[in-house]
């Protein structure tokens, strides 16, 4: 690991002013960043430890809804009564991620900002546009079995590894970000970006900005939700494909559906075409299959990951059947 200086932030404004220098990075749980530093994929000059900032609260908001501090641990959020009761899709997604030991340490903000597990990104002896802009993307014609089928570019076919972010995309969470220029709340759909010509940028969070919280609206009464993850072993593996679905039906008709996919794109992939195909349709297996096919018709599989198209179609359809049962 390369040398760096370490400081523990006393408060949010101190953390932000300290982060103004190039080469500074925030450290929370470290389950991804420490690993990337060992691999020398991440080479910070300065680490600003934010793990003791007062951002570890889960607050139930007066109008319903939840505000989750950025340094809340993944396991604590999954275990929280309000999440298990009101946002089961989020509890399930959190519990589908990583392992018990990692969930005990990893934070919510860190989970959102974790980097791709594309094998070329993690190997500094290989070119990678995400790690070294302009060096090329060997994954496009190389080992890409587990990489993107939606929204990729000729510069990058990486996927985002988070399960939690997929549930938050379906929940239309807001992400509070604070920087030297003030604070803002981003819809999660605007947090993640497609790789395009600058895949070194995973998100729209600017250097020196800090995620301080995630906000969840109260869910519509009668909405049901589920998270389904398909992977190469039964547990402790990244998703090949995952589905977060939230559906509200009335008398056997789908009124509202929000679906997000994991393991298929540079960020959580909102399945808007599937959602559109479900609206005001009878809640039947035919409808679910049709909706899944409508979404996957737009997929752009690479040479070796066409199996994800079938997998995603079936996973969407099954998840909808489960939620609407």
């Amino acid at each position: 690991m390369r040398p760096f200086s370490y400081e523990r932030a006393a408060d949010v404004s101190g953390a932000i002013s300290s982060a103004a220098m190039p080469g500074a990075m925030f450290l929370a749980g470290g389950t991804n960043l420490v690993d990337l530093m060992k691999l020398e994929v991440a080479r910070p000059d300065k680490l600003i430890d934010i793990s003791r900032l007062p951002l570890s609260q889960i607050e139930e908001l007066p109008g319903g809804g939840l505000r989750v501090g950025a340094t809340v641990r993944n396991s604590d959020l999954a275990a929280h009564e309000a999440v298990r009761r009101g946002y089961p899709v989020l509890a399930q997604a959190l519990l589908a991620g990583a392992s018990g030991q990692i969930r005990n340490v990893a934070t919510i903000g860190g989970n959102l900002l974790q980097r791709s597990r594309c094998p070329y990104f993690q190997d500094v002896s290989k070119p990678c546009n995400k790690r070294r802009p302009g060096s090329g993307c060997p994954a496009r014609d190389g080992e890409h079995r587990n990489l993107a089928i939606f929204g990729h570019s000729k510069h990058c076919v990486a996927t985002h590894p988070s399960d939690m972010a997929v549930a938050l995309a379906a929940l239309e969470a807001g992400v509070d970000v604070v920087g030297a220029g003030g604070s803002r709340t981003l819809p999660i759909g605007e947090l993640y970006r497609l790789p395009g010509e600058d895949p070194e940028l995973d998100t729209t969070v600017e250097p020196g900005e800090l995620i301080t919280a995630v906000q969840l609206d109260r869910q519509a009464s009668g909405a049901r939700s589920a998270y389904r993850k398909v992977r190469e072993r039964a547990s402790f593996a990244f998703a090949l494909v995952s589905v977060a679905a939230i559906v509200r039906t009335e008398e056997g008709v789908v009124r509202d559906a929000r679906i997000a996919l994991g393991g298929v794109a540079h960020g959580p992939w909102r399945a808007l075409l599937a959602e559109e195909a479900l609206r005001d349709q009878p809640s039947t297996e035919d409808t679910f299959n049709h909706a899944a096919e409508a979404e996957l018709a737009e997929a752009l599989p690479l040479r070796d990951n066409g199996f994800k198209v079938t997998l995603a179609r079936n996973a969407i359809s099954r998840t909808l059947s489960e939620v609407c049962a």
Partner: protein
């Protein structure tokens, strides 16, 4: 170099460390506690699992400097006056290892895992997120222990050892 106060297996220590030192390297290289094992050093195998403030964690992914003031328990700290922890005894009773390399991490992980399950925390295989899970259920144990790999594949006996302790068949004096 930076200073760090850490309680390890009940001993309060004042340490001077390079800020790059992981908790695992601190334990093994500086404190001569070599029970926690370095398998992958990337958070993927679980051989380095210890308890930090009572919760299981992977020591290879934690920078020691971030733990100032924390309490760490390693496999060396589980026995009580020479009396093995119930999980240590159960692993021997059930022959829950072959080479033994992953065993300290398996046992520390199981200690943390049983505390989580008994506190009612759900897992990915818990059917009802609002009901108390059964800590002795085999599917629950397998899911909750998935962060610990065993290349000898002693899983059948590991699950049996943990299930026996989880079911209360062995008294846990050392906890």
């Amino acid at each position: 170099m930076a200073s760090l106060e850490l309680t390890v297996n009940g001993d309060r220590l004042g340490l001077e460390i390079d800020v790059r030192t992981t908790l695992l390297d601190l334990l093994r290289e500086h404190l001569d506690l070599t029970g926690s094992k370095k398998g992958c050093d990337h958070g993927q195998c679980g051989a380095c699992t210890v308890l930090i403030d009572g919760r299981r964690a992977k020591a290879c992914l934690v920078l020691a400097i971030t733990l100032d003031g924390a309490e760490v328990t390693t496999i060396e700290g589980l026995a009580d006056n020479g009396q093995l922890h119930a999980l240590q005894a159960a692993f021997i009773e059930h022959d829950a290892f072959q080479c033994g390399y992953c065993t300290p991490g398996q046992i520390c992980s199981a200690v943390g895992m049983l505390a989580e399950a008994r506190a009612g925390l759900p897992s990915y295989v818990t059917e009802d997120l609002l009901a108390a899970p059964d800590p002795a259920d085999e599917h629950e144990i397998r899911e909750r222990m998935s962060g610990n790999l065993c290349r000898c594949a002693a899983y059948v006996n590991i699950v049996a050892a943990i299930a026996e302790v989880a079911s209360g068949a062995i008294a846990e004096d050392a906890e």
